[in-house]
């Protein structure tokens, strides 16, 4: 028991951990190279250049891309405004002491999370106007309401989790200073929850951006085209290389979503990791 000597366990000699790590890395790079070569070799490049990377087609649609880009951003922003406002109301309803509010909010979330967004957009385009005898003043209003209501269901859950993650002591401190529960919510809880929900909320905006493509079911006039509708239009109206339009709008989508992620990271840094620093 007191002997200082240690006997190594029996077994075959193995590679040292350092050598094993190097070997594993070589294998991983090898797999990657094989895949890239297979894809490049398997592609019909001359056909691709004509159909998918056709510069002539790019020139033809170039003048239309800016307004379609602006439309997509506009639809996304207005739908998000609706989603955020409604989502916050739903989150507060879920935390309400009134049981009926909790039931209504839960029912709402379950319904709009479980139904395809496409159906909701169709409903707002064709059913709601008939049912309530309303005419939405613009496509933007329709899409903002339809997508906003779907997105609100997802945001409600995210925001509720964020509000509940603020420590109970924060509420107690505010209430013990005489602040009402409303003042406590607005000045203490919501600002702190905001930081925590920033990443999942950004995720929701990215999803919304892509969901605006569902607007195609509404039957749009050309000036109301979003990026995806423009790509389909281009596909049908150029002789060759129509598929190029999808590459162009794909890049345009990334030009919206990637800066968004960068903005979130910046906001997160700005607000610090532990509250403020």
């Amino acid at each position: 028991m007191t002997s200082p000597s240690v006997t190594m366990p029996p077994g075959r000699a193995r590679m040292s951990p350092r050598k094993r790590a190097r070997y594993s890395r070589v294998v991983q790079y090898g797999v990657l190279v094989v895949i890239v070569v297979a894809v490049v070799m398997g592609t019909d490049w001359s056909n691709m250049r004509e159909q998918v990377f056709n510069l002539e087609a790019v020139q033809k649609m170039a003048s239309d891309v800016p307004y379609a880009f602006v439309n997509t951003v506009k639809y996304t922003a207005s739908a998000f405004a609706v989603a955020l406002a409604l989502g916050l109301v739903l989150a507060l309803m879920k935390l309400s002491s009134v049981r009926l509010y909790r039931i209504v909010a839960t029912g709402y979330v379950e319904f709009f999370r479980g139904v395809p967004a496409l159906l909701v957009v169709l409903a707002f385009a064709y059913i709601v106007p008939v049912a309530f005898q309303v005419r939405f003043s613009s496509v933007t209003v329709t899409i903002a309401l339809a997508l906003g209501m779907v997105s609100a269901a997802y945001l409600a859950e995210t925001l509720r989790a964020g509000l509940q993650a603020v420590p109970k002591g924060q509420v107690e401190a505010a209430r013990s200073l005489g602040m009402t529960s409303g003042q406590t919510m607005r000045s203490v809880v919501i600002p702190q929850a905001f930081r925590m929900v920033l990443p999942p909320v950004t995720n929701e905006i990215v999803l919304l951006t892509k969901d605006t493509s569902l607007i195609y079911v509404m039957g749009l006039a050309v000036p109301d085209y979003d990026l995806t509708r423009l790509a389909r239009y281009t596909l049908n109206n150029v002789a060759v290389g129509g598929l190029t339009a999808f590459v162009v709008v794909g890049i345009a989508y990334l030009m919206i979503t990637i800066p968004l992620s960068a903005l979130t990271r910046w906001l997160e840094r700005k607000t610090g990791s532990k509250g403020h620093v």
Binding site: E172, A173, A174, S176, L177, G178, M179, Q183, Q192, H276
Partner: protein, 251 residues
């Protein structure tokens, strides 16, 4: 001298467990009462029943002549006059030190920006942190945060201060600064109820010490009596553990 706090027959249960089993206690204007006792004895719950952070299950609590156990009481208005300091400080991390001290003044007392700031700076000065007004809580040590929490409570011009184990979360070397601020406050005539494990502080500053165990007040009186020469066996056992923790005492 009128009573600032009057508690009678106070009971509080969490589910099946009864934490307060009938407490009677009155605190007079300008009096400093230290509540001591083993953990789980109900001291913090008692304190939290005074400003209704916990809803009592029975009995009556009246603060500054207002029956806070009345279901129709405007508790927000009563709390405006009752400052509270927590074990975990609970400063607002998204606001600066100054903003921590002005927020409730602005929103609750409807003071103007300049008046609120003036009051806040005066109280930060009093706790020795005038130079940290623009810092965020995360940039301060625990002791500094707790002193800001005291300044925040004082900025509401309270008539009564509640301290819930204000030094229990602090590193030992930071305890002194917080206690000396509290001592100054007591000397200035503030009515205080302090739940604490700092026996030296209780002995020196308290007008009255209350020993609680198992949801009841076992013994109360002057510090010299309760801490120096306790009459009850339970008090003696507790004090022996607290004052001399490494020695084993046979009963």
């Amino acid at each position: 001298m009128s009573a600032v706090v009057e508690i009678s027959g106070l009971r509080k249960s969490f589910g099946e467990r009864e934490v307060l089993k009938g407490i009677d206690l009155a605190v007079a204007q300008g009096e400093v009462v230290c509540v001591i006792g083993p953990s789980g004895s109900g001291k913090s719950t008692l304190l939290r029943c005074v400003n209704l952070l916990e809803q009592p299950t029975g009995g009556a609590v009246s603060v500054l002549g207002v029956e806070v156990t009345d279901p129709d009481v405007d508790i927000d208005r009563v709390r405006t006059h009752v400052g509270m300091v927590f074990q975990q400080f609970n400063l607002f991390p998204h606001r600066t030190v100054l903003e921590n001290c002005t927020m409730a003044q602005r929103k609750v007392l409807r003071r103007g920006a300049s008046e609120a700031e003036e009051v806040a700076r005066r109280n930060l000065e009093q706790v020795g942190l005038a130079d940290r007004a623009d810092s965020h809580p995360a940039q301060l040590s625990g002791g500094q945060q707790q002193r800001v929490a005291i300044a925040r409570a004082l900025s509401m011009d309270p008539a009564l201060m509640l301290f819930d184990e204000p030094t229990s979360a602090l590193d030992p070397e930071l305890v002194g600064d917080v206690l000396s601020v509290m001592r100054d406050l007591a000397e200035a005539g503030m009515t205080m109820i302090v739940v604490t494990h700092e026996m030296a502080f209780a002995r020196e500053v308290a007008d009255r010490v209350v020993f609680m165990d198992d949801g009841q007040i076992v013994e109360q009186g002057s510090p010299d009596h309760v801490i120096g020469n306790p009459g009850e066996e339970r008090t003696r056992t507790f004090l022996a553990r607290v004052l001399d923790p490494t020695h084993h005492h046979d009963a």
